[in-house]
Symmetry: C2
Subunit: 368 residues, 2 copies
C-alpha cells in the first residue's frame, strides 16, 4: 500500500473517495464507468481505486476524463457475494474491499464506496474503522421514496444487525437525524419509531423504552419526535427519518422494492395489452420516464453505514454506472460536509444525555 502524499491526495482542493472496484455483479467496468460519470459532474472529486491493477489500469486508461484523477491500488483478491463475513474478517486482507477501507482508515480518503457483499463490508468496516464512541451497533441507512417535499425519507437500520435494544434505537435516532441534516439538508428532521400501531401502549417492550429515550433526547438534539409510526409511513410524509431494528427494516425495504417492481411490470404488461394502450404508452413516454426517475432506486443508490470512524457507502450489488455514480455522489456530499466528525459529536452529545449528563454535550454538537 502506498503512502500518502502522492500527486493526487496532495491536491488540497480535491475530496478523495476510496472505491472498491470489485465484488459487484456488473464487474469493474461498471464501477469505472460510474466514477467517470462522477468525475465529469464533480471536478472536485479524486479517486483511489482498489482491485487488480492491470485490469483497472486498462479500464481507466480508456476514460480521458479520469486522467490524473485516479490512483490505482493493487489488490489481488475479491470478496464474493457468497463469502461469509467471518471468513472475510480472517482472510480478507488481500482483498480490494479491505484495501478500500484502509485508505479511509489511514486518512488518505474521506469516504469509501463498495458494491460488494453487505455483510462482509459491514464486518470489515467495524474491524478496520472501529465504532464511534457511544455506538454499540452501527446501522445501515437508506433513502426511500416518500411523499415528503424532499422526495425521500431516511430509514435505519435496514440490516447491519438483526437486533436493536432501546439504547441502540436512540442512537439510530441521533445518527439518522444527523444524516438527514447532512444528506437531505433538513435542519430539524422529524423522527418516527416504527411499530405496529401509533398508540403508546402498543409494541414490544424495547420500543416503549426507546420511545421514552428518544422523547427525552429530542429537544437537546434538535429534532422533532413524532412518536410511533407504521409501515405505511415509510413512504409517507409524517416524518423524515424512520428508526427500526435491522430485521424489520430489511424486510420492510425489500417488501417495498418487490411491490414497486411488481407494479412496474404489471404496468408495462397493461400497456402492451391493446393497440390503443400501446399507442398511449408511446404518447406518455416522458410522463412514465418522469415517474420511473422519481422512484428509480439507482438514483438513491447507497446505503450509508452510520456509527463508524469514517463514511462507508454501500452501493447496490447490481449497480450499473448510474448506480455507482449516485453512490459516489453521496459519499462526496457527506465527505464535503465533514459528516463523520459531526456524527461523532452528535452521538457523544446524545450519549451524554442518556447518562443524565446533558451539560457535557458540546455546543458544537448542536449545530450538526
Amino acid at each position: 500500500m502506498t503512502a500518502q502524499g502522492d500527486h493526487i491526495t496532495s491536491r488540497s482542493d480535491r475530496v478523495i473517495i476510496s472505491v472498491d472496484a470489485m465484488g459487484g455483479d456488473a464487474g469493474p467496468a461498471a464501477v469505472v464507468a460510474g466514477i467517470s460519470t462522477s468525475a465529469t459532474k464533480n471536478p472536485e472529486i479524486g479517486f483511489i481505486l482498489h482491485g487488480p491493477s492491470d485490469e483497472l489500469t486498462r479500464l481507466v486508461a480508456r476514460r480521458k476524463n479520469l486522467r490524473g484523477r485516479v490512483e490505482i491500488r493493487h489488490a489481488e483478491d475479491v470478496v464474493t457475494m457468497e463469502d461469509k463475513p467471518s471468513h472475510v474478517m480472517r482472510h480478507g486482507k488481500g482483498s480490494s474491499m479491505w484495501s478500500a477501507l484502509d485508505a479511509v482508515r489511514a486518512g488518505e480518503a474521506e469516504a469509501a464506496v463498495s458494491c460488494g457483499n453487505t455483510g462482509a463490508l459491514m464486518a470489515l468496516s467495524m474491524m478496520r474503522l472501529r465504532k464511534l464512541p457511544g455506538v454499540n451497533r452501527p446501522a445501515i441507512a437508506v433513502l426511500w421514496p416518500s411523499r415528503n417535499p424532499q422526495g425521500f425519507n431516511v430509514m435505519l437500520d435496514v440490516g447491519a444487525d438483526i437486533r436493536a435494544d432501546a439504547d441502540d434505537l436512540l442512537r439510530f435516532a441521533l445518527m439518522g437525524a444527523s444524516y438527514a441534516r447532512n444528506g437531505l439538508d433538513l435542519p430539524r428532521p422529524r423522527i418516527g419509531l416504527l411499530n405496529v400501531g401509533t398508540e403508546e401502549h402498543k409494541g414490544r417492550p424495547e420500543l416503549k423504552e426507546a420511545h421514552a429515550l428518544i422523547t427525552a433526547a429530542a429537544e437537546q438534539s434538535k429534532f422533532d419526535f413524532v412518536g410511533f409510526v407504521e409501515g405505511g409511513d415509510i413512504p409517507g410524509d409524517i416524518c423524515d427519518v424512520i428508526v427500526t431494528d435491522g430485521f424489520t427494516g430489511n424486510v420492510a425495504i425489500k417488501t417495498g422494492e418487490g411491490t414497486a417492481s411488481l407494479i412496474g411490470d404489471l404496468l408495462r404488461a397493461a400497456f402492451r395489452y391493446t393497440i390503443l394502450s400501446r399507442l398511449a404508452s408511446v404518447m406518455a413516454v416522458t410522463s412514465l420516464r418522469r415517474l420511473k426517475k422519481r422512484i428509480d432506486p439507482r438514483r438513491v443508490n447507497g446505503g450509508v453505514f452510520l456509527g463508524l470512524n469514517g463514511t462507508v457507502v454501500k452501493s447496490h450489488g447490481s449497480a450499473d454506472a448510474t448506480g455507482v455514480s449516485a453512490a459516489v455522489k453521496l459519499a462526496f456530499q457527506l465527505a464535503q460536509q465533514g459528516f463523520t466528525e459531526k456524527l461523532k459529536a452528535r452521538v457523544a452529545s446524545g450519549a451524554a444525555l442518556t447518562q443524565g449528563d446533558a451539560t457535557s454535550a458540546s455546543a458544537e454538537a448542536n449545530e450538526n
Copy 2:
C-alpha cells in the same frame, strides 16, 4: 339473542354468514350495500346482521334482493376503533361485534365478518370462540398480490400478536398451508419462512429452530418448504405462503400498501403533467383499470383469523361495499369447504408431529 331454528338458518341449502354491521369507517350503509352485492352474486348465502335493529331494518328494507335472506340481531353498542381490546373484553357484551361472534359460537352461522377494530375483534374471537387445540397463538392471514399464477400469496401473521416462537411459526405454516388449499385451491402449497437472507445461518434463533420444525413437518403435512425467503418474495413467485411473526408481517404489508399507494398517486400525477400524457391516459384507461383491479386491495379484502373454533374474516376498517362483499365471499368460500374442521384436523396432525407422534395424525387430516 334469539335461538336457532328460525326461518333462515333452517334452510339447509343456505350458508349463513354472521355480519357485524357496525364499527367500520363507512358505517352500516356500506355493510348492507356489500351484503346486497354478495346476495345477488351468491344465492346460497344467508345473513345474520348485528347492530341497532331500527337502523338496520331501514337499510335492509331498501334492498329488495335481501328480502327473506337477512335476520337482524339487535345490538345496542358499537366497538370503536379507539377502544382497547382489554376494555372490549370486559364491557363489550352488548356490542354488535360480540353478537356477531356469538352466532358462530352457537353454531347458527358458519363464519363471521366484521370491519371493526382488529385488536378488539381478535381478543373477542379468542374469548368467545376459543383457540383450536394445539394452537398457542392464532394468526391473521392476508392475501397479497404476487407474481404467482394464482395472483396472490398468503401471508401470516400480519398482526394478531407481536411475538411468535418457533412452535408458533410451525403452526402458522400448517394453518397457512391449509388456508392456501381451501382459499386459493392450491393442492400442494409452497411455504417460505421470512428472514433477512436465504442462507440457513442467517436470522434470529427462533427462525433457525422453526426452519428445522417446518422442514420436518413438510412431508407429512403435504406442503413444500422452500426455506427462508426475503421481503422481496412476498409479492414474488417462489412460494405461496409466507410465514412470519405478527410484528414483521404487519410492518411488511403496511410498507407494501404504502408503496403501492405512493406509486399510484405518482402515476396519476405523471399522467396529468402534459396535454399529451392526459390524452394518453384517456386512451389507456382500460389498461390502467385492469392494473388497478389486479392490485386493488378491496378485491382481496379480508384478513382471516386462523387457529380458532370458527372462521372470522376481518374486513378492512375503511371497506366500502366492494370490500365488504369481497370479505363475505371469502367467508362463504371457507364456510362451504368446512374450513374450520379441516384446519382443526391439520393442526392436530402437525402438533402430533412435533411431539414425535407422527402416526397419530389421522389420514383424514392429510386431505385438508
